[in-house]
């Protein structure tokens, strides 16, 4: 059974704190993604990675950074959390070396609901 796990389901942080969100997949997928989900806006891509130590900015990378030191793990970092980063964060993974010629399904983790006060 394929699995994407995220370190926390709920997280409460204070403004200015550094926040780490961890994601682990056990499917040996090349691609990993971080999305942010807000009502009425759908899933917006923050960053994705197509290989270890490789990363690409998505649509809303400002205020975020990522790290992928191992194939199975993809971390999202909020350097200095702000209230407008309160949201649901979803991690996903997929196989294929990229989103180019053949597109494979993405498997999502359960999400982390982050509240910044």
């Amino acid at each position: 059974d394929v699995k994407v796990t995220q370190s926390s389901r709920y997280l409460v942080k204070r403004t200015g704190e550094k926040v780490f969100l961890e994601c682990v997949q056990d499917m040996d997928h090349e691609n990993m993604f971080w999305y942010r989900q807000d009502p009425g806006l759908g899933l917006r891509l923050i960053y994705f990675s197509y290989d270890v130590k490789m990363k690409e900015k998505g649509d809303i990378p400002e205020g975020y950074s990522v790290s992928r030191e191992k194939k199975e793990r993809f971390s999202l970092i909020l350097e200095s959390a702000s209230t407008n980063q309160t949201s649901m964060y979803l991690c996903a993974s997929s196989r294929s070396p990229g989103l180019g010629s053949s597109s494979y399904e993405q498997y999502f983790g359960p999400g982390t609901r982050l509240t910044v006060t």
Partner: protein, 110 residues
């Protein structure tokens, strides 16, 4: 650029049919459909590649009109389990810009 989904929300009775549309202003290579039930992660339904082929998944099928850059998801004889938010995701022909739409909330009532 985010694709447009319509309607934003729809309420059905069990057994009724529904159509959810997804359109883009850009040339598309593929369209993906996902369903997210309340409190759960999105789950993949199907991918449609350009060529206009229609795909099916149980009583849920979809089509892709390459000329109109539009895909439609058809839910036939809806069941309570179909309730959730349906997202389309589009991959453009030029580059690797995969983008999800804002979602369509579907509620099936007994």
């Amino acid at each position: 650029q985010q694709p447009v989904q319509s309607p934003q929300a729809v309420i059905l009775r069990e057994g009724e049919d529904a159509v959810i549309n997804c359109s883009s202003s850009k040339a598309l290579y593929s369209v993906h459909w996902y369903r997210q039930k309340h409190g759960e992660a999105p789950v993949f339904l199907m991918i449609l590649l350009k060529g206009g082929e229609q795909k099916g998944h149980e009583k849920i099928s979809a089509s892709f009109n390459e000329k109109k850059q539009q895909s439609s998801l058809y839910l036939t004889a809806s069941q309570l389990s179909y309730s959730g938010t349906y997202f389309c995701g589009t991959l453009t022909s030029y580059g690797q810009n995969f983008v999800f739409g804002p979602g369509t909330r579907l509620s099936v009532l007994p």
